[in-house]
């Protein structure tokens, strides 16, 4: 019998330390390769960019060299962070609000088909309005503070989560529902023990999309009527032809977006260990 901590469905492997060692060494090499390849590509790209700026004598306000961008990142770190903070708050609040609303509505849809038939077309319509068009409407409605930015981030997150969560809650195998009926399970038990866990993989695919789009939503919201935030800084830097600051701002915004995505991916890996997509 296989050991308890790590059961293997197949037994009867012969012990071969040398082959095992070779296999593990190869696996380690592949793991390193996976990390080093993109890093190498990025470094090469930065080098090319830098050399292009130097060789072709491109003026700093057209495109800055990576060195200039790095200098701004270090020297004006305080300003960049001061502007990241409101954007981050707006993105995270919008993310939470939008997803909570979407999950709640998906739950209603699964139990009330009428609600889905009535409301889903509206959700589709709202989703077709471009963000740049939604932003001014919300600024007019909600003023110049953080509220319209949070609202934009929330609306952007809402749709993918609504669609995925509805599907996840609904795509339950019929045998599992029959099983719960045999067990005389209450509707609440069916929801929390079957539908919700079944929907988690669907939910996380939506949350990963939402993590990056929420940041984009907040930034676009800041383009209109705001003097703080990554979006405002982008506009300011563009009008001042301060391209190193513009690029540095973009780097900061993207890094935050990637971190947000990473946190959600980490949560997914933690919560969905059972999911076959995360098998080794």
């Amino acid at each position: 019998m296989a050991n308890q901590a790590e059961p293997l469905p197949i037994g009867g492997f012969a012990e071969d330390a040398e082959a095992d060692a070779r296999f593990l060494a190869h696996k380690r090499w592949l793991a390193w390769r996976r990390r080093l390849l993109p890093l190498g590509a990025v470094l090469l790209f930065l080098l090319l960019w830098w050399q292009a700026v130097v060789q072709f004598e491109i003026k700093p306000f057209i495109a800055p060299s990576p060195v200039a961008v790095a200098t701004v990142l270090v020297e004006r770190f305080g300003i960049l962070m001061a502007n990241l903070l409101p954007t981050a708050i707006e993105a995270v609040c919008g993310f939470l609000l939008g997803n909570i609303a979407a999950i709640s509505l998906a739950t209603v849809f699964v139990y009330r088909k009428t609600a889905e038939e009535a409301l889903f077309p509206i959700a589709v319509m709202v989703n077709t309005i471009p963000v740049v068009a939604k932003a001014p409407i919300l600024v007019l409605l909600l003023g110049n503070g953080m509220e319209p930015k949070i609202a934009i981030a929330a609306i952007i997150c809402f749709f993918p989560t609504l669609v995925n969560m509805t599907r996840g809650l609904r795509d339950v195998r019929p045998e599992q529902l029959e099983l719960m009926r045999i067990l005389s399970a209450t509707p609440r038990e069916v929801f929390f023990r079957i539908r919700v866990p079944n929907a988690l993989p669907y939910l996380f695919s939506a949350l990963k999309i939402a993590a990056s789009t929420a940041v984009i939503g907040a930034i676009v919201g800041e383009w209109i009527g705001s003097n703080v935030g990554i979006g405002a800084l982008i506009i300011q830097a563009t009008y001042n032809f301060d391209s190193p600051l513009l690029y540095a701002t973009i780097v900061v915004g993207s890094t935050f977006s990637a971190l947000f995505f990473g946190v959600i991916s980490l949560a997914e890996r933690r919560m969905l260990r059972w999911h076959s997509a995360h098998k080794d």
């Binding site: 308890q4 901590a5 469905p9 045999i182 005389s184 209450t186 038990e189 079957i194």
Partner: protein, 255 residues
């Protein structure tokens, strides 16, 4: 006459769709003694699964009377006296083997289960000691079905309904599980109704085989199986078994 576990009187089930009404079961009369092992055999479309689902209170009969363990099927289901094993093991992928087997003890609105058994004890009964913490995707098809059987037995049901549980397994695994199921039956004393489309499985497992004919689903013949217990796979090579299987096949050809 022994006490009956399940009895059906003129049970009919009709399904209505846009293409018209289909009679899945037509006036089924049936009586299953307590503690017995009955196999339901028939061509596809004969309503064997439908009949099983009527007993489990998953489908209400259009007409006729069904009695399960002395009452209505709904009462038996709500008293958690029915265990059901599907062709698909229907395990919950997010729960470990032990958590899957424990599921019936956690649901049902917190009703007490006097006949409940320890999940670990049942896992050992189906030969899965040491696999408690594994997840369904780590198991083979046969092992998953063993988990499903353990889960069906954990509430201590007096009636176990099995809908082609080994239909998707390879023959070697199926043979082994057939033998093990008979041992489980002897150990638990549960009444078992087992749906299959394999003649050999039906004849090897059942104390009697109920042959169903298709379109509409109706009882064709109930054939007692005269093989002694405990049964071993080698008994399938005896002349008695061969002639029984031959008889079942000839009847099936006319169904």
């Amino acid at each position: 006459m022994a006490e009956t576990a399940v009895s059906c009187e003129k049970v009919s089930v009709r399904f209505t769709s846009e293409r018209g009404t289909v009679t899945a079961l037509d006036k089924i009369d049936l009586s299953i003694p307590r503690g017995s092992f009955l196999t339901l055999l028939g061509p596809s479309g004969c309503g064997k699964s439908t009949l099983l689902r009527v007993m489990a209170d998953l489908i209400a009969p259009t007409s006729g009377r069904v009695s399960v363990l002395g009452g209505a099927p709904q009462a038996a289901r709500e008293a958690r006296q029915i265990g059901f094993v599907f062709q698909d093991p229907a395990l919950l992928a997010w729960r470990s083997v032990l958590e899957n087997v424990s599921l019936p003890l956690e649901v049902g609105g917190g009703k007490s289960l006097p006949g409940a058994r320890a999940p670990r004890e049942l896992l050992s009964l189906v030969g899965l000691d040491g696999w408690e913490r594994a997840y369904p995707h780590e198991l083979s098809g046969g092992m998953r079905q063993r988990v499903a059987i353990a889960r069906a037995l954990v509430s201590g049901p007096r009636l176990l309904l099995m809908d082609e549980p080994f239909g998707a397994l390879d023959e070697i695994t199926r043979d082994r599980l057939n033998e093990e199921l008979l041992q489980l039956w002897a150990a638990t004393g549960t009444t078992i109704v087992f749906v299959t489309h394999s003649i050999y499985e039906a004849a090897f497992l059942g104390q009697s085989v109920l042959l169903l004919a298709a379109r509409p689903g109706r009882v064709r013949e109930q054939v007692p199986v005269p093989l002694p217990s405990p049964r071993r796979l080698a008994q399938r090579e005896t002349p008695e078994f061969t002639s029984l299987a031959g008889h079942l096949r000839r009847v099936l050809e006319t169904c």
